[in-house]
């Protein structure tokens, strides 16, 4: 394989994985920005999303678009209930809220383990075949992940910029009290933000289900990666999460192709620490007050 083919192929793989990181990190950073908690259960919602894909798409053979919608709606509703039931009463104390998300993670993961079992199960590809451009081969299923994730993040971006609720969310993230004075109901924004955040994680899970297998433990790695992306891009910054997710995916893919995956992983972390030292608030983050 010549150099050009290798570069393009690694680029596409990096984009696929980067899109997943982006979807995870955008929701993760949204909750951090608005509620000031690190949601340790974020990966569990990814896992439930891939579970929904397993049942609806692989078992009941529902169209994939509908699968994505179902994953987003189901998990979004679960997220809102969780926020209302567990996180809301602990709102005055961020550290306690953070530890509570850990409890949620334990409960969700083991509940799924109980009725799904521990063994990973595969899901068929959404579309067969591949696209040939000269010597380079793209599988359609990979391209589909990239396109779908781009559309979803684009939609989310528009919602945050233009829609009344999205603007309200950004206002709460900037200054909760000032937002309250402007008549924004924080009690309504919190569950909504949490629901949207975990719905994005669920969509990521459903999209990646055919790429990785489905099991109760698939959420851990995406959660850790989202954490790294958010550090890289800046805590609470949505553009930072988008940029950071793509960057991390590409670095990972090119690093693994050229230097081997171990070196790439360590290099990745060293790079993030380096960025933190030079720009503590991340690439696009704002300074903490």
């Amino acid at each position: 394989m010549d150099f050009m083919t290798l570069t393009v192929q690694a680029g596409v793989n990096g984009l696929v994985i980067g899109m997943m990181y982006m979807l995870m990190a955008v929701g993760f950073t949204l909750v951090f920005g608005i509620m000031r908690i690190v949601n340790f259960a974020h990966g569990e919602f990814y896992m439930i999303g891939s579970l929904v894909a397993f049942y609806t798409f692989a078992q009941w053979e529902v169209p994939f678009v509908l699968t994505l919608v179902l994953a987003a709606v189901c998990v979004g509703l679960i997220g809102m209930v969780v926020e209302w039931l567990v996180i809301r009463p602990l709102r005055s104390d961020e550290l306690t809220g953070m530890i509570a998300t850990l409890g949620i993670s334990v409960v969700l993961q083991n509940a799924v383990l109980m009725f799904f079992g521990a063994s990973p199960r595969a899901i068929p590809d959404v579309v067969e075949g591949s696209l040939h451009v000269g010597p380079v081969v793209f599988t359609w299923s990979r391209l589909l992940v990239i396109a779908a994730a781009a559309v979803i993040v684009g939609g989310f971006w528009l919602f945050m910029q233009k829609h009344k609720l999205g603007r309200a969310m950004r206002a709460v993230a900037q200054d909760q009290e000032a937002a309250l004075i402007q008549g924004i109901s924080v009690d309504r924004i919190f569950p909504l933000a949490f629901g949207i955040s975990v719905a994005l994680a669920a969509v990521a899970g459903a999209l990646m289900a055919p790429v990785f297998a489905v099991s109760p433990f698939v959420g851990t790695t995406p959660m850790l990666k989202a954490f790294i992306v958010v550090i890289l891009g800046g805590l609470g910054s949505i553009p930072g999460a988008i940029l950071g997710g793509l960057l991390l995916g590409l670095i990972e893919s090119y690093g693994a192709t050229m230097l081997g995956s171990v070196v790439a992983d360590i290099l990745q972390l060293a790079l993030v620490i380096g960025i933190l030292l030079i720009r503590p608030s991340g690439l696009l983050g704002h300074r903490e007050a």
């Binding site: 602990l90 850990l102 409890g103 334990v106 409960v107 954490f227 360590i266 972390l269 030292l277 903490e288």
Partner: protein, 328 residues
């Protein structure tokens, strides 16, 4: 509200010495009781759980020291792991006696924490936490992949057991006494540190770092000191673990463990170091107590955690003030 009144209580002249000596009395009573624990427990499995609980207590207390300067470490298990690997390798490769390797690993871990602390000096609050998280990830990766030294994912096996002046602590029951002694040592150290000039500086930094700094307290120096002491103790605890289980792998000290230690502090109650203790005592045996609900035990564990946080935001130690609201 409760916290403020406690601060006021502490500074009040009404016999402060009596209350602060109460822990010492309790410790002496606990020592007396501990002598009988291994013989009273129905079988060795319970002794094993007791040993793990003591080790958790050491980890939680050492993390509390870091918390007492207003920092949180998400890499606490990595420092424990660093200590474990250093001690195990010294004992396995160079034949260093376990007690000496324990001391060396504690010092080495404290030094590396101090170095890391000095490098990330300018990072405050949440960014400091993030770097400790990244440190933990790097530790796991290096432990997994530096196979020549760490033996990779297979881990290090047949680590020599703890021994002290010809006295072996290989069995579970005998290790209990060693772990208990070390636990009391760490507890007394935390207690003394808390009462010393350092403790007061730590708390002033925790409550208001800017105010502390403007009062002439070198906040970053104290934060590094607390970080180094806490991580060093974690290193010793990790080394003890290595010589007790006699097998370590990168899976022994993961991000999940770091998070578990934080959970102990929060569930126990983070305003006092007793909270860390109570959290470790409560959470470590909890999965075993729930064993009767086979399959459900982890779900219940998570649920118990959420319920405690929900109804006792001050942690389990706030139960004490519910029982006797007019103390002091």
């Amino acid at each position: 509200m409760r916290e403020t009144s406690m601060v006021l209580d502490k500074s009040a002249p009404s016999d402060p010495a009596r209350r602060s000596w109460t822990p010492l009395v309790l410790v002496i009573v606990a020592c007396g009781a501990a002598a009988f624990v291994p013989s009273l427990l129905p079988n060795l499995f319970y002794v094993h759980i007791a040993n793990l609980t003591l080790l958790s207590g050491i980890f939680a207390l050492s993390l509390w020291i870091i918390y007492s300067v207003g920092q949180l470490s998400l890499g606490h298990a990595a420092f424990a792991g660093l200590g474990a690997y250093i001690s195990a390798l010294l004992a396995l490769r160079l034949g260093v006696p376990p007690l000496l390797s324990l001391v060396i690993s504690g010092l080495a871990t404290a030094t590396s924490a101090a170095l890391l602390g000095a490098v990330i000096l300018r990072l405050r609050g949440v960014y400091f936490v993030l770097v400790t998280f990244l440190f933990g990830q790097i530790f796991t990766l290096v432990a997994l992949n530096w196979s020549d030294v760490t033996n990779g994912a297979n881990g290090l096996i047949s680590i020599p057991p703890m021994a002290l002046f010809g006295l072996s602590f290989a069995s579970r029951s005998s290790f209990f006494y060693f772990a208990f002694a070390m636990f009391i040592l760490v507890l007394l150290l935390t207690w003394a540190l808390n009462r010393s000039m350092f403790g007061r500086a730590f708390h002033s930094i925790q409550q208001n770092i800017d105010l502390a700094e403007s009062c002439g307290i070198d906040t970053s120096r104290f934060q590094i000191v607390a970080f180094a002491i806490g991580s060093g103790i974690a290193g010793v605890g990790g080394a003890m673990m290595a010589h007790y289980i006699r097998y370590i792998s990168p899976d022994t000290f993961t991000f999940q463990n770091s998070v578990a230690f934080i959970t102990m502090i929060v569930v126990g109650g983070r305003s006092l170091y007793w909270g860390a203790l109570v959290g470790a005592l409560f959470l470590t045996p909890l999965p075993e107590l729930l064993r009767d609900f086979a399959g459900m035990q982890h779900i219940l564990y998570g649920a118990v955690m959420i319920v405690v946080l929900r109804f006792l935001p001050g942690g389990l130690i706030s139960l004490a003030s519910l029982v006797k609201p007019n103390r002091g």
